[in-house]
Structures are given as structure tokens and as C-alpha cells.
Subunit: 132 residues, 2 copies
Amino acid sequence: MRHSRQRELILDEVRSGRLDHPTALEVHDAVRERLPRISLGTVYRNLRQLVETGELKAVAADGALRVDPRLEPHAHFVCGRCGRLSDIDVDLAELAGAVRLPGGHEVAAVELLLTGRCARCAPAETTPDPHE
Amino acid sequence: MRHSRQRELILDEVRSGRLDHPTALEVHDAVRERLPRISLGTVYRNLRQLVETGELKAVAADGALRVDPRLEPHAHFVCGRCGRLSDIDVDLAELAGAVRLPGGHEVAAVELLLTGRCARCAPAETTPDPHE
DNA sequence: CTAATTGCAAACGTTTTGCAGCGTT
DNA sequence: AACGCTGCAAAACGTTTGCAATTAG
């Protein structure tokens, strides 16, 4: 893989933590501030490469692909009210034990996605407006 | 929710097991044999309703929405080679134990997706063609 | 020099939507 | 009669792709 300024900035932006589980579009917007002519297609191409080479992880929550710099196995929680996506720690050994996997299957990746109401939204279930 | 012949046929088709984790398009094709004028939009609208009311479960694997008549909590395995999606049993108590959930969160749904090579594809990794 | 990478725009597949009319209750 | 549901077609959405030009090694 050859070096490119756009890939460097994309990876830097996602790793910086300034964005939280960003979509390709959010990464595009952020990187564009430093490199205004970068195209959305380039962001998609690079995110895909970075996920393939294991430098980033992909999360498929609500319709869009999101990207995550945390590489250790962990779960995600999506709040159906405010839409916030948060990281959840998991005990990998225990998780593996819970799965009754038929013999012969080779597992390459695990994605555990929890949906519900987050701690901030659950109590306020009665009030109509999502917090910012 | 009012009754309709199209929703009845859609639910019947998915529950029948003739289709395996079908996409909306596959459900459309199947139901169209019995009700030729049914539109894809109607299939989408009804699948969404049936998932919302808990009569079916949704699985988000590869780009598209798939639908599953199995209601008990279980995991899914997607083979990256042949694309086959299979059901995997999980020990729910053990799974819950593996998740280090911060207090206050209310979990409504859990989706556990495993990706890799299925028992049939893993050994044949060298041969180029996916089984049917 | 070579081949990977880019910006751009067009195309793709999936899902949603606006609408006028039909079907269920 | 009221209103949910339908078919249809158009649009929205996220993502991929073809291309000629640029850039890294």
C-alpha cells in the first residue's frame, strides 16, 4: 500500500477521537477542513482499505457504515431515542462460551450490537425531545 | 393494525421456512407467485411493521435487511465465501454475563453477528468456486 | 517509469415516500 | 363513512465504480 496524504489524514482524524464512531460522511466533512478538495469517494476507498488491513474496525449500526479506532473486541450500544452509539466492554472468553458454534466454522470477526434506551434517555422516556 | 391479504401472505411466506433469512426482494419474488400485483414497496412496509410488532426479527447482514421468523434470542453466522447465513444458538445467561453494561441502560434487542468461513467453505479455501 | 491513488460524476442496490384509489372495519 | 393499506413511480440514501489526471516509490 502506497502512502497518500488523504489516507494519512483520514486515519489521523478517526484515531484522534474528535469524532465518535463517525460515518464516511462525517469523516469526509472533518478531513475536508484540512484538505478541502478530498472527495467522498476517496474517503470510502480509504476507510475500506483501513478496515481490510485491520487498522480500523467497521460497525454496521443504523443504515450506515461507521468506523471505530478501538481494535480490541468490544460491543456497541445504540440508543433508539437519541441515536448515540457507545462502546461496551465484553469478556471475550465468556462471550465465546455463550456461543454454541457448530464444528468446522472459522470465526474471523464478531459483532455484538445492543439496542435500547441509554442511561440518559431511559428515565426521560416520557419527555418528547431527544437530548442534543 | 388492519388486516390485509398482502401482509398475511408475507408473514406466511417468511414463517413457512421455504426461504432462508430472505431479503425484502426475495420475499417479494416468493409472494408474487401467489399475488402477482403486490409491489415491493408494500413488502418493505409490511416487513417493517411485522418487525416493529415483534412478529419477525430483522437481521442486518451484508448490505441488505434480512428477516427471520425465529423469535428466541440467537446469533447469526455469515460465511464470507459462500454468503450463506446460518442460525447459531447462544446461552443467553452466559451472553448477558459477558457484557459489561454500564448501569441505567435498557437493552431492548441484542444482535450477535459472526463472520468467517463456514464448515463447508473453510476446508475448500484453496478451490476458487463457491458452492452453489 | 510504473502503478497506486486521486477527484469527479455517473451508476448502483436498497429503502422510503407522495399520491390517488381501494379495502377493511 | 373513515382511515389503513395498496400499487406505482419517483426520490432518497449510502456506497461503488469508470475514467483520465496526478502522485508516490
